[in-house]
């Protein structure tokens, strides 16, 4: 047992994982602190919004209004000092009790809203990230092997698609495919009047609505991966070990596989960065396409000063980003044996 513990302490991969865990915990703490203070220092007050929505008008004035406001401020704990609210916020966060969403969804709990919305966002983020990674790298590697005009053409289109702003490209696709060609619907989750059911026609309808946000991000990200992979494979094909293997008479397929394995490593490192960017872009596209994920939920929450829903949304995005980054770091260790076996005799 003692020997195993000692081995674990001397294992560079275990140390690498432990370092990452500590780093991500610090990131989570700092990010949540920022979110808390930024939202609380925002102009406006959720209680005013709540009273306005209850009375179907402005916040109004008078003794009744002030009394109601004081009661609600007391009920939601908003009249306490900011630092005390901050400590309460951490206590509630650790017990996963994010409280009710107010003023827009009262009395629904924040957690129940997030659990409902999270699959919508993940259904875009995970497939786009994974499929674009494989297709983009495949296209990039093939372009590098092909060389000449074909390679240049792939490079041109890859750079072009990768540099497209997603919000603009999304609107262009809506205009072309939903407005002019009328192939895909441009907004929402399903056609108006359809009820959620287990019917195949309903799922196909959802897939139709899902297509445009998916295609938008997929095209952008395929371009990014293809550009990187083309450059990396071109670089690897010029390196000494490939040339030497070529002289030894290795088959072309074998050379390609060697070059590809080494070229994929920086691409896997890039997965972290792309995941972070993708989550942000998905949030924006959800607003454009009316896809009811976390991004759209937070957009509505910011507009309504819904503190707890903003916290919840940020918390979930942060957890997804941190977990994703952590998994990619671990994956990197598996792909690159130098990290996995480092320190082992």
């Amino acid at each position: 047992m003692r020997r195993r513990t000692r081995d674990l302490l001397h294992n560079r991969f275990a140390a690498f994982v432990a370092k990452k865990v500590v780093f991500y915990l610090i990131v989570a703490f700092v990010a949540m602190t920022f979110v808390f203070f930024i939202t609380h220092l925002m102009p406006g007050n959720p209680v005013d919004r709540m009273i306005a929505s209850l009375t179907s008008g402005g916040p109004g004035g008078g003794q009744t209004y002030l009394k109601l406001k004081a009661q609600l401020m007391d009920y939601f704990g908003l009249n306490k000092p900011l630092f005390e609210q901050y400590l309460i916020f951490w206590r509630e966060l650790f017990t996963l009790n994010l409280g009710p969403s107010y003023p827009i969804n009262y009395p629904q709990s924040v957690l129940s809203i997030i659990i409902l919305r999270l699959p919508y966002t993940l259904a875009i983020v995970i497939p786009v990230l994974l499929l674009s990674f494989f297709l983009g790298n495949w296209i990039g590697a093939k372009a590098a092997y092909a060389g000449g005009k074909r390679s240049e053409l792939v490079y041109f289109f890859s750079v072009f698609s990768n540099r497209l702003p997603s919000f603009w490209f999304g609107m262009v696709l809506v205009f072309v495919f939903a407005g002019v060609l009328k192939i895909f619907p441009g907004y929402g989750l399903a056609s108006l009047g359809t009820m959620s059911s287990w019917k195949l026609s309903y799922f196909l309808d959802v897939l139709e609505h899902y297509s445009l946000p998916f295609i938008t991000l997929f095209i952008i990200y395929v371009g990014g991966w293809a550009t990187g992979m083309r450059s990396m494979v071109t670089h690897e094909m010029d390196s000494g070990y490939v040339r030497y293997s070529e002289q030894l008479g290795f088959r072309k397929n074998k050379l390609m596989s060697y070059a590809e394995r080494n070229a994929i490593l920086p691409q896997v490192t890039g997965l972290n960065l792309q995941l972070n960017a993708l989550i942000g872009e998905t949030a924006i596209l959800e607003i454009i396409f009316g896809w009811p994920g976390i991004g759209k939920m937070m957009f509505d929450a910011v507009g309504a000063d819904d503190y707890m829903l903003i916290f919840g949304g940020f918390m979930v995005i942060m957890v997804v980003v941190i977990l994703g980054n952590f998994l990619i770091d671990i994956l990197y260790g598996f792909i690159d044996p130098r990290i996995r076996t480092g320190g082992r005799q």
Binding site: P119, A123, P127, L130, L131, F134, W198, L200, Y202, F203
Partner: protein, 67 residues
């Protein structure tokens, strides 16, 4: 030719993840024609989206590790 055990495990996981999505589509077709053998008490859309995510992960596992 002997196939490594690790590869077989990934092959099985990838195939199962793809199969669950196919089964969900088959079930939804049967549900549409009122021939569903049983009822599922879960939000259909959430189930469909989660199944779609797993399907994509299954494809990636098959391409990379099950090859």
């Amino acid at each position: 030719m002997k196939v490594p055990k690790r590869k077989l495990v990934f092959l099985a996981i990838g195939s199962l993840l793809i199969l669950q999505f196919v089964l969900l589509l088959v079930y939804s077709y049967l549900y549409e024609i009122n021939q569903a053998p049983f009822q599922i008490n879960y939000d259909p859309l959430t189930a469909f989206l989660i199944s779609w995510i797993l399907f994509c992960i299954g494809i990636v596992i098959l391409i990379t590790m099950g090859r």
